[in-house]
């Protein structure tokens, strides 16, 4: 028994990474490859209002609720009452957790005005309090928020620094996973410049405003003994707490499928090898204003939801209500699909958030809704809330993310007039699998729409330009007239068709007339033939009679 156990232990490779305590915070566990260092202190630092306290609190609450690890929250700035109020807006009932002995709250008030210093002291009182709180709930997690408030209460910095060092050591010895929050200093990550050295993991939070648009970012500055993502990751604070977008390396190893999904327009499906788009591919429709991009997008969304698959429609120009109304005029009833929960629309202005925030928000919605298809209408405005390269990078990340989940992406792009049609100013054309182009065709005093497939990877596709007509019953694609008269669309095509029809009719009539002529001739011939035969018979009889007479 013992022998076999030992051999099993030898066969199994020793775990290389540190034991980690999951935070339960969306995305953070991915970036840290599993969570915060278990049984060790982590420093979360940043300026005011960057979300330190919330991150620490969420770590503690999720630990207590999801991972069965009770926790202690030692606050130096806010009272228990205030903290409970703050997290109630995020749907956490702190009071109940305290009542259930899953979390212990201890508000430590340090009032410098009341305190006189005289001679030697240490912070043993704090240690004893913390120890008592840990024991009272059997805590595995501890939060100290924020360390600066403690420093503010005492003047003897030498003692404080020594005690801070001792505190980190003490937390390690107690084996609790600790989060200590700290204000960001001018030159170092913290005011004292000490905490970051004694912590095993340092997370820096940042709240930046660029061009009046704010973005929160998170970066892991250090993490002893393990690998971690080193980029700055945007994060979002909303009704569900913190979510971090783990936008790491761009992978190009998504699984692919041969499955096809309809575009919602039979004739367009026919142009795409007869079956439509590939599931999980990226589709781009680009064109100038008013060429029907949104109608194409809505047709696709409608078809997706009609099949019983979920579709997320992210509108960046129109409100959902306006879209529903407008699409109802071209025969697309979106309302019932929204009511069934198959279609979800979300509208926001591109300039409302920074790009990263949009990305995080979309990411979050996609993870929650798990759609089969996502429509983004349009992508062109994103460059307004960031530089063009930022926008293209964001879309690249988004498309990669969608592909990794086999979600079909349908993007529309407004081409500004005067630029090359075959270029997007966001520069994402290379990552698009199927690219449809809608363009104006001005001819004969009319403006008509033409559609063609610019590219479609991995399928046989039509090289024809189709006239794109929006009717009250939906979108129709018609053959454009190509002939000796050139390419004709709109009423010129109709006129040409009418002319051809008239010509055909005339030909038919001529044929019918000829037919009648032939029939008449045939009838005449028949009569003549019959007359001839009768004459012959008559003559034959007379001859016989004459013969009979002669011999007689």
């Amino acid at each position: 028994m013992g022998k076999s156990e030992r051999s099993a232990a030898v066969a199994r490779p020793a775990p290389r990474t540190l034991p980690k305590a999951r935070t339960g915070i969306e995305g953070l566990d991915q970036i840290t490859h599993g969570g915060l260092p278990q049984g060790r202190p982590t420093l979360v630092c940043g300026g005011p209002g960057c979300g330190k306290t919330l991150l620490a609190m969420e770590f503690l609450i999720r630990g207590a609720m999801q991972f069965g690890e009770p926790g202690v929250f030692m606050a130096f700035e806010e009272t228990g009452e205030e903290l409970a109020q703050n997290v109630r807006s995020l749907g956490f009932d702190l009071d109940q957790l305290v009542a259930q002995k899953k979390i212990a709250l201890d508000y430590v008030r340090v009032e410098p005005a009341e305190i006189e210093e005289n001679g030697e002291y240490d912070l043993e009182g704090l240690f004893l309090r913390l120890g008592y709180a840990i024991d009272s709930v059997g805590a595995k997690r501890v939060v100290l928020d924020t360390i600066e408030a403690l420093f503010g209460g005492f003047t003897n910095e030498a003692v404080l620094r020594a005690e801070l060092r001792r505190l980190f050591r003490w937390l390690k010895d107690r084996g609790v996973t600790a989060v200590i929050t700290g204000e960001r200093g001018d030159e170092s990550y913290t005011r004292q410049g000490l905490e970051e050295y004694v912590s095993d993991c340092v997370i820096l939070l940042d709240h930046r405003v660029n061009d009046q648009i704010s973005t929160r970012r998170l970066r892991i500055v250090k993490y002893r003994g393990t690998t971690h993502g080193t980029s700055e990751y945007p994060f979002l604070i909303d009704e569900q707490g913190i979510s971090v977008m783990p936008v790491t390396a761009l992978h190009l190893d998504h699984a692919v499928t041969d499955e096809r999904v309809s575009s919602g327009i039979p004739r367009l499906d026919a142009m795409l090898g007869g079956e439509g788009y590939y599931r999980g591919s990226s589709v781009l429709v680009s064109g100038t204003a008013g060429t029907g991009k949104t109608s194409l997008a809505a047709s696709f969304a409608h078809a997706t939801a009609k099949r019983g698959e979920r579709c997320l429609y992210l509108a960046f120009e129109e409100s959902p209500k306006q879209l529903v109304r407008n699409m109802s005029t071209i025969g697309l009833a979106l309302e019932p699909l929204i009511a069934k929960g198959l279609l979800r629309m979300h509208a926001s202005r591109p300039t409302f958030h920074g790009l990263e925030m949009h990305l995080v928000q979309m990411h979050k919605m996609i993870v929650q809704f798990e759609p089969a298809a996502v429509v983004i209408d349009p992508i062109s405005n994103f460059s307004a809330s960031g530089s063009t390269s930022d926008a293209s990078l964001m879309l690249l990340r988004l498309i990669d993310f969608l592909k990794s989940r086999k979600i079909t992406a349908f993007l529309t792009h407004l081409t500004s007039g005067g630029k090359a049609m075959e270029a997007t100013d966001i520069g994402i054309s290379s990552i698009i699998d199927t690219w449809l182009l809608v363009r104006d065709i001005e001819l004969g005093g009319e403006r008509n729409r033409g559609l063609y497939v610019l590219k479609s990877r991995g399928m046989k596709h039509s090289n024809q330009i189709r006239e794109f007509v929006i009717t009250p019953e939906g979108i129709e694609l018609l053959d454009v007239y190509v002939g000796p008269e050139g390419v004709l669309t709109g009423s010129m095509r109709a006129a040409q068709e009418a002319r051809e029809q008239a010509a055909a009719l005339a030909l038919q009539e001529e044929l019918a007339a000829k037919q009648r002529e032939v029939e008449r001739l045939q009838a005449t011939l028949e009569t003549q033939r019959r007359n001839r035969a009768e004459t012959a018979l008559r003559r034959g009889g007379e001859a016989a009679r004459a013969k009979g007479k002669k011999p007689a």
Binding site: V108, V110, G119, E120, E124, G125
Partner: protein, 95 residues
């Protein structure tokens, strides 16, 4: 401040640490000298009763709390500087 006023003092310590012991002996000396017969000292060992640290928001050890006369005053440290201790307890006005 009348000379008949009662002084109610509380000293928070952590076990028998040198600082705690120094604070207690320093405090006794000061009180005997300036408040003879009208003071009481309650020593609270937080090692034994960590729960009690909450009441007076104790973080540092040793901490001396003047409960009476009001207002509440706190002096942290081993009270090795008698002059400052007297000022801190408002037994002597700031100079």
């Amino acid at each position: 401040m009348t000379s008949t006023e009662r002084w109610d003092l509380r000293l928070y310590t952590a076990g028998q640490s040198p600082k705690s012991l120094a604070a207690l002996s320093n405090l006794k000396r000061i009180c005997d000298e300036h408040l003879a017969g009208r003071y009481s000292i309650e020593v609270i060992d937080l090692m034994k009763n960590p729960r009690l640290a909450k009441d007076d928001e104790i973080v540092a050890i040793p901490t001396l709390v003047r409960k009476l006369p009001a207002p509440l005053r706190k002096v942290i440290g081993d009270l090795s500087n008698e002059e400052r201790a007297l000022v801190g307890l408002q037994l002597r006005p700031h100079k």
